[in-house]
Symmetry: C2
Subunit: 650 residues, 2 copies
């Protein structure tokens, strides 16, 4: 154990030593790996190819459910309404293009990571930043619930009889992803590359073969489609219906922001590499989305809880439930499960940043044995599992809650960027302003850049409103209520930490005068070896010791008094008769009385003799006086409760 | 506040005072009444008439289910087997007669209360006493579950559509009975007299009218009887079937022992009055049982979960669901609910006696604000409610568990009495032996009395065995497993209290030498006002103070060191670098190291600065170091953990 010693001017000695601690093997180390030292923190960076695999799974995987949920709304007006699907998909692609360009700018402006929270905090202020944090945290949870549920839906499409186990399978998958993430990022990165590319290849294979057969005229419609559940009377095609379908389709854009959070993970030049990865991701996402919607509507796929549209598409394109079909479904399942991983990276990081700023419990900033924010990971897994159970792993029921948070955070992030360009445009050319997340200096054509981010902000704001209105009754109201509630909680927590820091600050703090008198009160129910041990301890504190016996039973009081006369070493014993057989109240009122007559600088210690039985369960057989007293006296000044444990031997 | 002061030879002063405490009104006082002083304990005694009402409800109410459960078993062999019902009822009456005579003797031998536990303890030893206690406690719980469930079955007979709410109604009734009992016995006594007599009158009216109409030839069979659920193939009438029916019928005898527990409640001459009451109760019970079985089989009543036999009997006798019918059903319901009350008197008293002897947690001996053993009452209500929920308030499903405990305790009690007569027979004429529960002196014709109790013991033992065998698969095995398990738990608890008493005893205890050195270790995460307050306290303990900072973050350690140099008053600061970011382990290993190098009579106090936020919920935002440390160090000798609370002002 290396040890260093400092002496300093004030006379105080400072010793430094490194703790000699060797982690032992246990179930825990087997599950998540042996503990890592802080110095082991990985500084490794990733290439564009791995970056795409790590950050794109969330966005790309949404092609597995977004087309189906879009078509599901149109189905209410009959399959004839599927004609609106492709134009809607084009609109979504346009939105994707604007968003991609907007985020390109964010990536270059915030090379240290430009999540919506940071951008809002630096440019819009505290409340918008908290709104962004609340929206994002909620959506991270929903991403896990939706992706995992959709992944399970793919499994069910292939193996129907697993339908009744869907909730259990989904929760099991959440636990697996949680464990992977508790092990840490490095392993997770590698584990993700292969499945992501496998998915991309399988999807392109499906749409290329599908389009070839379609234009060759050999692609028919879905054989034996699942039953279409529609209301008895067909709904007319209204603007509301179309906007609702559009809202569902925009869930495809969730995850686009992931790269902007993870810029520091890329190899140098970080911003450039991250930017190129974003473009690649958007291109793949856009092309797949368009092709899937086009093909799915033409083969007359039926949105259903028992077989996914992807499953219907794959078996129609490949002619049967063959190896290719299984390849598509399994890769889709895997990427959906992996998509949940993006949240498992994002949620703990964001909650740690928010906690660091004092809006969430500080415990979330603590990095666990594997150098990850393990508490955030566990919280995410718990809340997502709860959602899965509540919504019975149904993507259709979860979707109305989803994406509002993402789009709200898009809006705030892009609005923040626009504000940033305005600030930049008004800087003198040679001035550099350092903000917490980025450095500002004048740039050419800031107006155009401001317009681009402003357009992104405007469009995503419109989508947020459309989403909130069209999905309100089906579940969006939950999110709309939760976000302000979370912001309220954040601000209460923040206020607590601030007032605490003020209340504990040593600035302009006059050290209190030393304690002039120390009194000891020792409650006792009987006189035994534990009492003697406590008294022996009490005597090192003070000579002013009063033993107090609260008497419920007169005979017991007589025994206590007799024993005290023998063992009490001359100290005072007060017997408080308690006609109502209460224990705590008479003792507290006695302590209050003593406390009231006390001088300033006088302190009272309540020394509670506590015997410690050798068996833990035996504690249930005794009243835990010290615990109760401590709680009751916690808010009283200059009263300290000490329990002196006496380890019973026998 | 009256205060007395004593000085005694040893120089210690003893003050006595009565606590000045005025109970406040609250929801609690509204529900169960204002607290009573110990001196208010009721010393009031009850007459034979009230005594019959208080103690007989358990026994008499069993006429509501015992005939039905007896017939339910015979029904498996077809209604033709109902012919066996009356002879079986006669057998049960014979058993009742023997039991009554046996208990008459117990009542006169134990004027202070002769429950099976006390009689077994004094005459058979500790293990039989514990078996009796376990059996009785279990059966008290089952009495509540069975009586309440049967009461709800009567309600359902009249109001069919309440069937799906039966569990909720049953649990609600348990809560009502619990609250009545938490108020205390006095009110309970009065409340019981009227319904018990109402029930007795209604039942006699039913059987007298029924018998008159039967012998007059105008009594037909049940109109629209409920469906009879029997197995596809009729079972043959075997000895096993008949014994099983007999076992079910003997549940009518549960509650016969109630008076023997409650002798002290009677007016003088207690034993005589209690004995007469027992005779009256047995006479009523026997005659009603016989008449109900006779009539029920002749009107071809059908045992059913949806309509009780009592309901079928009443509407057949009175010709319709008229006022008389409702009178019978409502009085039956009320007496069944009241029967649960016998357990609410018996269970808490027995558990308090057992706890007093050290076989159950001592907390059960504590009398609550209304001078009743409130903890026992609440435990009984909880366990009975659990049973009702598990068995869905079905009497037929609960019955196989019921009555084994009662008959086992009958056997032990009567065997104990027989043993007591044997002891009495071998005493010299002028010797008086005092046992814990009774006084022994020679009596004439002890052989006859011994024979009578012995016969009671033998017959109830046979019933216990018959019951266990015939009901084993249907649920009796649960009780047969639970009784030894409970006895095991009792003996573990007893051993704990005994070894604790030995380990704490001051007999032959050499007082330890005073503490020669006191060291203080003060863990701190940062230096703030709370730290200063803790240090101010620590200085009253010792001058040997070491502050310890477990460093997870290097920057934080530097800040702590700088602040300590300013505020640390020259005391030592040890910085423990924790490469694995653990907090507790480095601190513990440091404390261990210090503790290892310590001299005999040296004590270490860990002073933990703890700031107390003004909002209770804010505690969730901070790590509760003191709590964790206290648990971790509880078993270490001569280490005391003290948290010094600092109430934050801001």
């Amino acid at each position: 154990m290396p040890e260093h010693q400092n002496h300093n001017s004030n006379g105080s000695t400072v010793w430094r030593r490194v703790t000699d601690f060797h982690p032992r093997k246990s179930l825990r180390t087997w599950l998540i790996g042996r503990p890592l030292q802080t110095a082991d923190a990985p500084h490794q960076t990733i290439s564009k190819k791995v970056g795409l695999a790590v950050f794109a799974s969330d966005a790309l995987s949404s092609t597995a459910y977004a087309p189906q949920e879009l078509m599901g709304v149109l189905a209410a007006a009959g399959t004839i309404a599927f004609g609106y699907a492709f134009p809607l998909a084009l609109g979504i692609i346009a939105l994707l293009a604007i968003l991609t360009l907007s985020y390109e700018q964010t990536i270059h402006a915030y090379p240290g990571g430009g999540g919506a929270y940071i951008v809002s905090r630096d440019n819009l202020g505290e409340i918008p930043a908290q709104v962004a944090a609340a929206a994002l945290l909620l959506d991270y949870v929903l991403t896990v619930a939706v992706s995992i549920s959709s992944g399970v839906a793919q499994i069910i499409s292939a193996y129907e009889n697993l339908f009744e186990w869907r909730v259990e399978i989904a929760v099991g998958l959440v636990i697996v992803v949680m464990l992977i993430n508790l092990r840490g990022v490095k392993e997770a990165g590698t584990a993700f590359a292969i499945p992501t590319y496998f998915f991309v290849i399988m999807m392109y294979l499906t749409v290329i073969v599908g389009l070839a057969r379609f234009f060759g005229g050999s692609l028919g419609i879905v054989a034996n489609p699942p039953e279409l559940h529609i209301t008895a009377t067909l709904q007319p095609v209204t603007w509301f219906l179309i906007l609702r379908a559009f809202s569902n389709g925009t869930t495809a854009l969730t995850g686009v922001e992931a790269i902007s959070n993870g810029i520091p993970a890329f190899k140098e030049p970080k911003s450039r590499n991250a930017g190129i990865t974003l473009l690649a991701m958007s291109a793949i996402l856009g092309s797949l989305l368009l092709a899937i919607v086009y093909l799915s509507t033409h083969i007359q796929a039926v949105p259903s809880e028992t077989e996914t549209v992807i499953s219907q598409l794959a078996r129609t394109v490949f002619g049967a439930r063959n190896l290719f079909y299984l390849g598509v479904l399994s890769s889709t399942t895997v990427i959906l499960v992996m998509a949940a991983n993006t949240s498992f990276a994002g949620f703990p990081r964001l909650s740690a940043i928010t906690a660091q700023d004092g809006f969430l419990p500080r415990q979330l900033t603590y990095r666990g044995s594997r150098l990850v924010y393990s508490r955030g990971i566990v919280v995410l897994a718990l809340v997502a599992s709860l959602l899965i159970v509540l919504f019975q792993a149904s993507v259709t029921r979860l979707i109305p809650l989803y994406a509002i948070g993402v789009f709200l955070s898009f809006t705030l992030s892009q609005a923040g960027m626009a504000r940033r360009w305005w600030k930049i445009g008004h800087l003198p050319p040679d001035v550099e302003v350092k903000e917490r997340g980025s450095v500002l200096h004048y740039e050419e054509s800031w107006q155009l850049k401001m317009f681009l981010n402003g357009l992104g902000a405007f469009l995503t704001a419109v989508v947020t409103i459309v989403f909130s209105v069209t999905k309100f009754v089906e579940g969006a109201y939950i999110v709309i209520l939760l976000i302000p509630l979370l912001v309220f909680i954040f601000s209460r927590i923040h206020r607590h930490y601030q007032s605490l820091a003020k209340g504990l600050s040593l600035d302009r703090f006059g050290a209190p005068p030393p304690i002039s008198r120390h009194r000891v009160i020792m409650p006792l129910s009987s006189v035994h070896r534990g009492t003697i041990a406590a008294m022996r301890y009490a005597r090192t504190l003070s000579d002013d010791i009063t033993a107090v016996h609260v008497s419920i039973d007169r005979d017991e009081a007589i025994r206590v008094q007799a024993k005290w006369e023998e063992w009490g070493e001359g100290y005072r014993l007060v017997i408080l008769e308690s006609p109502y057989r209460l224990f705590l109240e008479p003792l507290l009122s006695y302590i209050e009385e003593i406390a009231a007559s006390r001088q300033p600088n006088e302190i009272i210690t309540i020394v509670v003799p506590q015997f410690v039985p050798r068996n833990w369960w035996a504690n249930a057989l005794h009243t835990q006086t010290a615990l109760t007293l401590r709680w009751a006296l916690l808010f009283r000044k200059n009263i300290v409760v000490t329990d002196v444990p006496y380890q019973v031997e026998a």
